[in-house]
């Protein structure tokens, strides 16, 4: 039943795609401005097939990073595909210290991002699904009265598209929309799981300072999210701040006693601190929780290491001698 769910979801999306999209004014929240255009958004006319680097540079420069499409091309361009994959755009945004945040697959969040002053990178399919022509453009505004989307696209500094045409191309492109956030910014509409996963991406990319700012912001907004604390602890530990890591990981375990990762990391820290009994207690719990998950091998390695240390500590290294009374 669970396996069928994605198929049904895909089918539902595909079916709704057949119905013509409504005009912008019909779907616009009452609180949203009727007209937005981020006129200060920079423009980089794309070279052949280089719309990925151009669109990403547009977003990054708008968020305060000094970068050009030529700098980004070696980070994202796939010569044989004559294009760039969205996952690599995400990776490149991280390399420049920004938090790539993938928006929901409805237009609402795009509108909210524009209202917050952030342009939105979108993947469009400019042809039909069977014969795709993928293209990245940057949505910089809309006009609900005139029913148009305003884009920086290809070699056009200001491209107006009828809203339905834009929405259709975005739908056929798989509804991928991305913003790049300054570390520490959280969109008003952000969902905790998606935002924390995005911050975890910065951590995985080794962008410790940006990741720390993102986790701090997540903790301030959602103080009871265990993975925000786990991430904060991970970044502190990588920075050598063990006291902060210990506090954050303890908090993560208290908030979610069933999280094997937080217990594993806490056990590693306790081992280093020489607290063997506590370390063993944590790793045993972690090991039971990790059984059958993708963390099983990592946790079992930690456990072997901790057990070996405990055995070495318990055994008298000079047991073959006689000692005075």
């Amino acid at each position: 039943m669970i396996r069928g769910a994605p198929v049904i979801a895909t089918l539902a999306v595909a079916l709704t795609g057949c119905a013509s999209s409504p005009p912008l004014a019909d779907g616009l929240p009452a609180s949203a401005p009727r007209v937005i255009e981020l006129v200060a958004t920079p423009f980089f006319p794309q070279e052949d097939y280089q719309c990925g680097p151009a669109a990403l540079a547009t977003l990054l420069v708008a968020s305060g990073v000094e970068v050009s499409p030529a700098d980004l091309a070696p980070e994202v361009y796939l010569p044989e595909r004559r294009g760039s994959l969205s996952l690599e755009l995400i990776g490149a945004a991280r390399r420049h210290g920004r938090l790539p945040y993938v928006l929901a697959t409805t237009a609402d969040e795009m509108v909210e991002e524009l209202a917050a002053g952030r342009p939105v990178l979108v993947l469009q399919n400019l042809r039909v699904s069977q014969l795709p022509r993928w293209h990245y453009a940057v949505l910089i505004g809309y006009d609900a009265e005139r029913n148009v989307a305003v884009l920086r696209s290809g070699r056009e500094r200001r491209l107006e598209m009828k809203w339905q045409r834009f929405a259709g191309s975005w739908h056929r492109g798989g509804r991928f929309a991305l913003t790049t956030l300054r570390p520490g910014d959280i969109p008003g509409h952000a969902e905790p799981a998606r935002f924390i996963a995005a911050a975890a991406g910065l951590e995985a990319a080794g962008q410790r300072r940006a990741a720390a700012a993102a986790f701090d912001a997540a903790i301030a907004r959602w103080p009871n999210e265990p993975h925000a604390w786990l991430g904060r602890g991970n970044v502190a530990y990588a920075d050598g701040d063990r006291a902060a890591a210990a506090d954050a990981w303890s908090r993560a375990v208290m908030l979610d006693p069933h999280d094997a990762a937080a217990r594993n990391n806490l056990a590693e820290l306790l081992l280093e601190a020489g607290c063997l009994d506590e370390s063993r207690r944590q790793i045993e719990r972690a090991s039971a929780l990790a059984a059958g998950t993708s963390l099983e091998s990592t946790v079992s390695e930690s456990r072997s290491k901790i057990d070996a240390t405990a055995r070495a500590a318990a055994r008298c290294q000079l047991e073959d001698r006689a000692w005075p009374d």
Binding site: L85, L87, L230, E268, S294
Partner: protein, 127 residues
């Protein structure tokens, strides 16, 4: 030419050590990254993850085969989590690769030409 050989050996050694540095997936041994912790808690977390080292080698080879400068590949992979690299391994060939807006004009033009030649339309003025 002794110096040249020595230089080459140094370069080879250095590249080998850079490559092997890149093989060490997590930044800190023994500590579980948040991305991996999230992946483990998701619905498919129970399914054994593809070996991270294998997936990385796979993607590295694919990127190189796609014409990416080999010296740029490690940097690109380092920006992604293990789960993302595993996802990339299966989709480099098919995933949408945004490229060009210009060819869309091309196909419309081709259709117009065909319609013109067949005689359905007459928009290209002949003198």
């Amino acid at each position: 030419m002794g110096i040249e050989r020595f230089r080459r050996a140094c370069v080879a050694l250095l590249s080998a050590s850079i490559v092997s540095l890149g093989m060490q997936a997590p930044a800190v041994a023994g500590v579980v990254g948040t991305a991996e912790a999230i992946a483990a808690r998701q619905d498919d977390g129970a399914r054994a993850l593809v070996d991270a080292t294998l997936a990385r080698a796979d993607v590295r080879a694919q990127l190189e085969g796609m014409g990416v400068d080999p010296t740029a590949i490690e940097g690109r992979l380092d920006a992604l989590s293990e789960a993302e690299i595993a996802a990339l391994a299966g989709q480099i060939e098919q995933a949408p690769a945004g490229g060009d807006a210009l060819a869309v004009i091309g196909i419309v033009f081709v259709v117009l030409i065909i319609l013109e030649l067949v005689g359905v339309i007459d928009i290209f003025k002949k003198t």
